[in-house]
Structures are given as C-alpha cells and as structure tokens.
Symmetry: C2
Subunit: 141 residues, 2 copies
DNA sequence: TCGCGATTGATACTGAGTATCATTCGCGCG
DNA sequence: CGCGCGAATGATACTCAGTATCAATCGCGA
C-alpha cells in the first residue's frame, strides 16, 4: 500500500507539486475526496501534476496523519483532511461533508466484545453515515 | 458495484457453478477471503468457474446477506460468511478468523455523536481488529 | 554557488472489478 | 417427459485504481 519513489526517506522537502496537492485538498473543505478526484481537479485547473506524485503525496499525508482514509458504504476509498489524532468520521450521505468525532463510549463497546468473544482487540475502524445538520430535511434530487 | 449479467432478475436458479462457489466459501470456515482468493481456490482445485461468475455469485450472496464485505486495515476488500442480520465483525489480525458480534452499546455511541455533531446518523460500519483467543499469546513468525 | 539526494512525471504494468454477448442450462409447463 | 424461454455462464475485452521504474530535475544545506 506504500507508493515507492521515496524509500528510506531521510528528509521531506517542500516542493511545488506538493503544495499544489495541498491546495487541491483544501479546496474540498470538509468533504471527502478520492485520489481520482484530485487528479481530475488538477486537470480542470490546468495544474500539471503527475498521477504518481498525487498518490505519493497522499501517502505522505496519510503517514503524517494529516488526512485519513475512509471507506464509503459502497466500498470506495476516499480521504478526508483531519487532525492527526485518533478519531472517527461522520460523513454526510448527501453532501459528502465529514466531521471528526472522537471515540466516545466506543471503549465500552470493545470491552464488551472482548469479554464476549475472547479476542484481544487491538484496533478498530468506525465509519458513521448520515445527514449533516444542513441536509437533514433535504429531499433527494 | 453491481456486476451485470442478471439485470431484472426474476428467478434465481440453483446452478452447479454457484454451488461450487458456496463450497469454496465454506472451505474458508470463519476466515475472510477475497474474490481473488476464490478464483485462486477454484484454480487449485481444478474446478472450472469463470471469474465473472464468481463475482456475480458474490454479489448475489452479498445482496442476500449471506456474506458481508469487510474492510481490512490496509484497505483491502474481503468477505466473510455470516448470518443475515445486522452485526459487525472482529477479525483476527494473525489468523484471519472472524467472529460476528452485535451492536452492543454502539447505539449509545451514535446517539452521543448525533448530539455532538447535529448529524442524523443513518448507518455505520464498525470493524474490530485484534487477536482471537487462539492467537493471543502467539509470537509473530 | 555546488552537489547530493530527494522528488518528479512519463510510461508501463498489475490486479480488481465490470461490460458484452453468444452459448448453455435450469426448470416450470403442457 | 420433452420443450422452450429466460436466467446463467464464461470467454474476452475493457476500465480504473494503484504501483513500479527510471532518467531528468529540483531543493536545500554546506
């Protein structure tokens, strides 16, 4: 899952392409986006960035915790910009906006599961889907 | 995400290839498997089934709730046989075994999130990763 | 300013999943 | 029990995400 091109990276440079990717990501605000979205965005804006570079930058940001990969209900892989600490996402099924939320009571849930199954839970992934406050009353197109 | 070949399906037939796929899935026991795994299994067993048929059968079972798609930590898509009701999975990071668990206190977590974010939660996806009772003490190879 | 090593992007490739379509098969009906 | 029709199959081709390669380029510290 690691895009090559920067094996035993020692220093990380601030390059123009990387800044461009950051800008593209910022343009998505709270919404989620896929690698393909960024490639398309770059095209539409006339910004010339190689596909590989976009993937590499994404990996870099992922590693640094500046973005996180989320799995949409249909199995698609998307990303959202977020703070670099453990948390989860609520993503709006209508507008795509996503908001960070923290573990909350999840600890209790995993504890119950450990007790019930005998597994030693080491990690988890929680994705919540729903309508954000702005889309709650909206009727589908 | 819907594999074609059976558009406005009226009746579902019990065919030999489908039974073969079921058998392949059963062979995985509690473990998870990918579509590619099944294709490979079929090959190894000398069972001749078309790739497309495997994907189609998988979709069918998915639709019927007999298997469920799970997302491994690395983003891979896998499937596990399971009962057709709402629940989640704990998957062992060592042996791949997976066990069904129910929502438990998750309801409380989502309620808290709704209160905190203003989202109307409609669905969720929860994947738990850890060591199953048999693998808890094991040292990695 | 110089040089080294990180970074880039063009290109090619892999592997998952989907589309197409002529052929075959399951199965309910007469 | 044999027919016929529509479901199902599988070979093939294709799309699309993500990865590998590598020569050329650029950032940045000395």
């Amino acid at each position: 899952m690691v895009t090559p091109g920067a094996p035993p990276t020692d220093t990380i440079r601030a390059t123009a392409p990387r800044r461009a990717v950051l800008r593209l990501i910022a343009a998505h605000g709270d919404g989620h986006f896929t690698a393909a979205d960024l490639v398309a965005d770059a095209g539409h804006r006339g910004v010339h960035i190689g596909r590989a570079t976009i993937f590499r930058t994404l990996d870099l940001l992922l590693e640094g915790g500046f973005i996180e990969r989320i799995d949409l209900p249909d199995g698609e892989h998307a990303y959202v910009a977020c703070r670099p600490s453990h948390h989860h996402h609520v993503v709006c099924t209508r507008c795509g906006r996503s908001t960070d939320v923290d573990d909350g009571d999840l600890r209790g849930v995993t504890a119950a599961v450990e007790r019930a199954t005998g597994y030693a839970i080491e990690g988890h992934r929680l994705e919540l889907y729903g309508r954000c406050s702005a889309c709650v009353g909206a009727v589908e197109a």
